[in-house]
């Protein structure tokens, strides 16, 4: 169990008031999470205390910043059960992590006639790069379709994963509707045909225990800013024996061992994949975010998400007949996100009404345009939860939705 009122004291922004004194209700953590004071302070400490470029200087500050930077990398490795910190590559975000794989590993390993398999739940960041690889390599992009409840329809999975499959790239937790996919089972099927496995962990790593050894994936991509960390820092985990054979992505400073005017040899792992001055403050901030999450325990973070989701789904039953709620109903198969649509209230109008009550939600297609189109609506409204949200905030959301229905619903009068 999380002590949420104590947790909330750690997040300065949560005491903010918006408009005419409405307390902020942040239900948009799937877009970006808020930051605890310890994360903000770690960045201040870095800039005030030991700002220096890493891996370069012989002086005291560079030694200190390098140690903190590499310490953060080790924290990430431990957090996801990686075999070594050498397997952790700093990127800007999940999107860059996935593109790194598409520009390196995929160039060497995807050939004409091969198949790349993704799910119908993918964020554009785990779909668009594979469309290009498939086109360039004359490979085929295949999609695991959805069942009626927007979980994956696995009835044809043994045809979809076949000897031509070279990569299964799948989201572990849908940012758009919250579905949690059985990535471990799918990874085992991929292994059986010799395919590589990439997991988009942008929403799962912040919200539940994720262990790369347990999943047995080759790649895991995620972002710092959705897990209490700063923006501009992301991670790509690559299994060690694959990383050893991967060509560098960006070339330049820090990723080289020896350079002549004609040629260069590569630095050891993981720095071979980190050309140029990295985001030192971001990495250190992400390390502080992991410390904070470890202090709470990821099982507790997941259970809190499930509890909030259950409370939301139970409360929303009141509007069951009019409100379409997407995703599986079992909180074990989905959590952290409630995505919905009402025929009388456009999501943008709903978002504006809620905003004026201090409630921040996301409306639109959530960077999953094909998925939202398949739901048969132009857009959905999405509330997403995290470790600092309360049942009372979910209740305020429901009150806000009801207010919007009085405003717009069914040709009734104007403001209530």
């Amino acid at each position: 169990m999380l002590d949420v009122s104590k947790i909330r004291e750690d997040f300065p922004i949560l005491s903010k008031k918006v408009y005419d004194g409405q307390p902020l209700i942040w239900l948009d953590s799937a877009a970006t999470s808020q930051k605890p004071r310890s994360v903000i302070q770690s960045i201040v400490d870095y800039y005030e205390g030991f700002n220096a470029n890493v891996h370069r200087g012989v002086h005291a500050l560079s030694i200190e910043s390098t140690a903190a930077f590499e310490d953060a990398r080790q924290k990430v490795a431990d957090f996801i059960g990686a075999e070594s910190s050498e397997c952790i590559i700093w990127t800007r975000n999940t999107t860059e992590s996935i593109n790194l794989v598409a520009h390196t590993w995929a160039q060497e390993n995807i050939h004409a006639g091969d198949e790349i398999l993704v799910t119908a739940l993918e964020h554009h960041s785990n779909l668009v790069p594979w469309q290009k690889v498939a086109r360039d390599k004359k490979a085929t992009l295949r999609i695991i379709p959805l069942a009626k409840d927007q979980s994956l329809d696995l009835s044809e999975i043994d045809t979809l994963i076949n000897p031509r499959t070279k990569l299964v790239a799948m989201v572990q937790k849908s940012n758009s509707i919250g579905t949690t996919n059985p990535v471990k089972e799918l990874a085992a099927k991929a292994r059986a045909v010799g395919a590589a496995v990439l997991v988009d962990g942008a929403q799962s790593v912040p919200h539940m225990p994720v262990d790369v050894a347990d999943i047995d994936c080759d790649f895991l991509a995620f972002s710092g800013h959705k897990m209490l960390g700063p923006t501009g820092i992301g991670v790509l985990y690559v299994k060690h024996d694959i990383l050893e054979r991967m060509e560098p992505f960006l070339r330049g400073g820090d990723m080289v061992l020896e350079v002549s005017y004609e040629d260069a040899s590569w630095n050891s792992l993981p720095w071979r994949f980190e050309a140029g001055t990295p985001n030192m403050a971001g990495a250190i901030g992400m390390g502080a975010a992991i410390d904070y999450l470890n202090g709470l325990g990821m099982e507790n973070v997941r259970d809190h998400d499930i509890q909030l989701t259950k409370h939301a789904l139970d409360s929303f039953k009141e509007l069951e007949e009019e409100l379409e709620i997407y995703g599986p109903k079992d909180p074990a198969l989905r959590s952290g996100v409630v995505s919905f649509h009402h025929p009388d209230v456009h999501p943008h109008d709903l978002g504006t009404v809620l905003d004026r009550r201090g409630i921040a939600i996301r409306t639109g297609h959530h960077c999953t345009m094909p998925l939202v189109r398949s739901l048969g609506v132009p857009a959905t409204a999405r509330a997403s939860f995290y470790l600092y949200n309360t049942n009372e905030e979910v209740d305020a959301l429901l009150d806000g939705i009801k207010e919007a229905l009085r405003y717009f619903g069914n040709g009734a009068g104007t403001a209530g």
Binding site: Q22, H346, D349, T352, R356, H365, P378, T414
Partner: protein, 149 residues
Amino acid sequence: MALERLDDLYRDAILEHRRNPRNADKLEDFDTTGDAVNPFCGDEIHLQLKQDDKGRITAVGLQGEGCSINRASGSMMSEAAKGKTPTEIRALTDWVRKLMQGDPEAESQLSPEGDLRNLFGVREYPIRIKCALLPWSALDEALSKLSDG
């Protein structure tokens, strides 16, 4: 209470136009058409215009999918466009755009189109300005296809 301020955006006239959009039937007999899509929210507008022999717009058909601001703006636009020449419509479009951008001059200009003034409140919601202007983009496109446009 927060919702009182919301009334500045969702004025009665906007809610009324949203519920009873004018000129919503698709024209079978038209001289030009225009379409506009906002891929970020999935909103879309499809417009047909019919002119008389002097070039004045005599009939408007407007269909689409969108939020209340988009629908109301389109409905008001369809009423305002009727009886005007393309040149007059362009001046009106220009005025609406300036109004949305907060141009003080546009604000002081009295428009003969009473209902359109209800779109004022949208300026306070920058993210929604695009919703209000989407139908006007379809109108631009329709006019640009006319030979006398």
